[in-house]
Symmetry: C2
Subunit: 209 residues, 2 copies
């Protein structure tokens, strides 16, 4: 099919980058074609799930053959909008912010952290690879100027809500939050939490001994 309509489950969207990464590895190893069975074995996922996930977006495989690796990579990148350059703002130039920014520059994709902000005068002006840290006052104006829709929050929990509010004010609609705080955002804004402490704490449950 083609048109939108069938709301895609979050789980499907979150698996797409996993498929993408693995497909790129296969491509590096000059694998031309892969079946859902093979992919499932390699990623420890049910083959039917992989086929169903992909079928949400179109018919990308060939019966009796499988999926062409290069073609599927292109398709998934299109679906995730990774086929165009998307500017990303980062708020917070502490250890974590610097780490994320460096990583983003080391492994450059189409998600480009081009603007970093911090409210600490000691941090403003500092260079992280190619990028220079700007004062937090410029946040909203800069977001609008560059039409930035995606942002990463890497500030202390106490300031995370204020930053989120200002990102939304500036027109951001997708936020990845590393601060350990339950943020409130409007309905139309997609928020994803990636909080180190919570992850570790929930993992502690599974420690036996």
């Amino acid at each position: 099919m083609s048109t939108k309509a069938p709301r895609i489950p979050l789980g499907v969207i979150r698996r797409l980058p996993v498929y993408l990464r693995h497909l790129k590895q296969l491509e590096d190893h000059h694998v031309q074609t892969v079946s859902s069975q093979e992919l499932g074995a390699q990623l420890d996922l049910n083959p039917a799930q992989i086929r169903k996930d992909l079928a949400y977006f179109g018919e990308f495989g060939r019966k009796g053959i499988g999926y062409e690796v290069r073609y599927l990579i292109d398709k998934i990148e299109q679906i995730l909008k990774l086929d165009r350059e998307i500017p990303v703002a980062l708020v917070g130039a502490g250890h974590l912010g610097i780490a994320l920014c460096h990583y983003n520059q080391n492994k450059p994709g189409n998600l480009v952290i081009g603007h970093v902000f911090d409210n600490d005068p000691a941090k403003v002006g500092m260079r992280i690879g190619q990028v220079v840290v700007r004062p937090a006052e410029q946040l909203e104006r800069c977001l609008r100027e560059h039409q930035i829709r995606m942002a990463v929050i890497a500030v202390p929990a106490e300031h995370a809500q204020e930053v989120a509010d200002r990102l939304v004010q500036g027109g951001v609609t997708a936020i990845l939050n590393f601060a350990p705080a339950a943020l409130r955002v409007p309905e139309h804004v997609h928020l994803r939490n990636a909080d180190f402490t919570s992850e570790l704490q929930s993992l502690a449950y599974y420690v036996l001994d």
Copy 2:
């Protein structure tokens, strides 16, 4: 009831730290008691879900009243095993590893990153707050010596699988992996992936414009 048996859904376990964090905030604001209704409104969760989550582990509330904040904090910490000190190993003293280690020391809980490893001689001996980076060769021996069961992987993707294997060798049963790699671990080991790039990529799907 009391005995184990009813396997707890992962989603429940992952919400417990969220409850915990919020309850601590309530305690800071001298709130003594909270109902599932209030908690749900504050965290944007269904009250029935909160009650059901907690009911997996016991009867912690009082009908007609709600939950006593302090008591519930204690109970959740017991469930997650945060009432005892758990040593955590960190492999990889790059930007991210340093960030995580600093954060862990700034906000000290009972999950203590007490050992950091890196295979880069330039990093070995470096101090991150209180902790000194040790050579990767000592990994297995040190894990065993200190009976470490939890570990964080913050190395490049190329080395993540090898590190995971060695952690398992050393007796680790719970791993938080920050490397963008689909790791393979034995059945008895709990693996959680927290990969920045994947998160950001899946978020890109929701950027409209």
